[in-house]
């Protein structure tokens, strides 16, 4: 059995966003979570809920700094609103070299490029689309290992995963 925090630390920046919440609840059993959100009180309630669900009290922590969370993480989920993502990307750039960034584009948001701000990180973009019955997660990226990791993480959610051959330029 592998130890807690052994190469499986996922930071979720924007943990209280609808997407952040869903991912945190879904992967909390399998990954050590480093949750960051400006609203610490709501994040504390989320932690309590994850601990009750996963029975893994040491597997989830609140961090108050997105850079610290990303520094400790092996992969980072960027679940803040799209317009805030470049600001967060700038803050965490120094500590994310070589780490997979999963950029969540919430329904109704327009994608904003962060690749130029994180030039040494493989980025996987996940665009969420609500339908009347379910949520589609359209997954795109250039790096095969990062894509595999993102698809694995997202497989824990109830979203319908649509792996799209990347036709978009992530730099745009």
């Amino acid at each position: 059995m592998k130890n807690v925090g052994y190469n499986n630390n996922v930071a979720i920046i924007g943990a209280n966003s609808p997407a952040g919440l869903q991912i945190a609840m879904a992967i909390g059993k399998a990954y050590r979570l480093l949750l960051m959100d400006e609203d610490v009180h709501t994040t504390a309630a989320l932690v309590k809920s994850i601990v009750q669900t996963t029975q893994s009290p040491e597997g989830v922590e609140i961090l108050t700094c997105s850079k610290d969370a990303s520094w400790e993480a092996d992969a980072i989920v960027l679940a803040v609103p799209a317009q805030q993502q470049p600001i967060v990307a700038q803050k965490i750039a120094e500590v994310t070299t070589g780490k997979t960034i999963i950029q969540i584009i919430a329904p109704g948001n327009s994608a904003v490029s962060i690749q130029s701000l994180l030039p040494h990180s493989p980025i996987v973009r996940v665009t969420l689309q609500d339908t009347s019955t379910h949520t589609n997660a359209i997954v795109e990226g250039h790096n095969k290992w990062a894509l595999q990791l993102a698809l694995h993480l997202l497989s824990f959610t109830e979203w319908t995963i649509i792996e799209k051959a990347t036709t978009i330029d992530l730099k745009k």
């Binding site: 130890n3 052994y6 400790e72 070299t97 070589g98 030039p119 040494h120």
Partner: protein
């Protein structure tokens, strides 16, 4: 974040500011908490680790569950199961943090790419590997040639920081003696130094 690594490299070779930018793009920065693993037995050692801050240990666990310390690494030291890292075979060792640590990690593909892009780093790593061979030879000689007391006094003379910073039971394991034997040796040395 790269201060210790850059100082360590520039003691041996010269890097331009452009070289430094290239170098930084190959390393994964990683914070590790005390007792967190960065390698476990049975996994491939995927990273060559450099310690910017904190303290790591590499050790083997035998069939009886006894830990045998192989190496310690603190600020300015590199650590990896070199065989596993280079061959891709699984490791027989564990690496974890004795103190909270800040690491810079490089994968084998990135290590190779770094050497291609910055040939001056070939020289740096050659010097490093030379020193590593010498230190392993010395450790072997110490292990097979000296008494427990001599092993300890030689280690204390060569690595005073190790003696001060690392728990005594881990030092005992590193020297291949029991904690009780090491405790007796230390008491004896303290007594003889106070008598002098």
């Amino acid at each position: 974040m790269f201060d210790v690594l850059l100082a360590h490299i520039q003691e041996k070779v010269t890097l331009s500011s452009a070289d430094i930018d290239i170098l930084k793009s190959f390393f994964i920065p990683k914070k590790l908490r005390k007792r967190q693993y960065v390698l476990q037995e049975g996994d491939v050692c995927k990273y060559l680790l450099f310690v910017e801050k904190g303290l790591l240990r590499m050790y083997h666990v035998d069939d009886k569950g006894t830990e045998h310390m192989i190496q310690f690494a603190w600020e300015g030291w590199w650590m990896a199961d070199t065989y596993s890292f280079l061959s891709g075979d699984v490791s027989a060792y564990h690496i974890d943090a004795i103190e909270d640590a800040e690491l810079l990690m490089i994968t084998l593909p990135n290590f190779e790419a770094l050497l291609l892009q910055l040939p001056v780093m070939e020289r740096y790593f050659r010097i490093l590997f030379q020193n590593n061979i010498i230190s392993k030879e010395r450790r072997l000689v110490n292990t097979i040639s000296y008494s427990a007391e001599e092993k300890y006094t030689r280690l204390a003379a060569a690595n005073p920081e190790m003696i001060q910073r690392i728990p005594q039971n881990l030092i005992a394991s590193y020297l291949g003696v029991t904690p009780e034997t090491l405790s007796r040796i230390r008491k004896k040395l303290i007594r003889s130094s106070s008598n002098n």
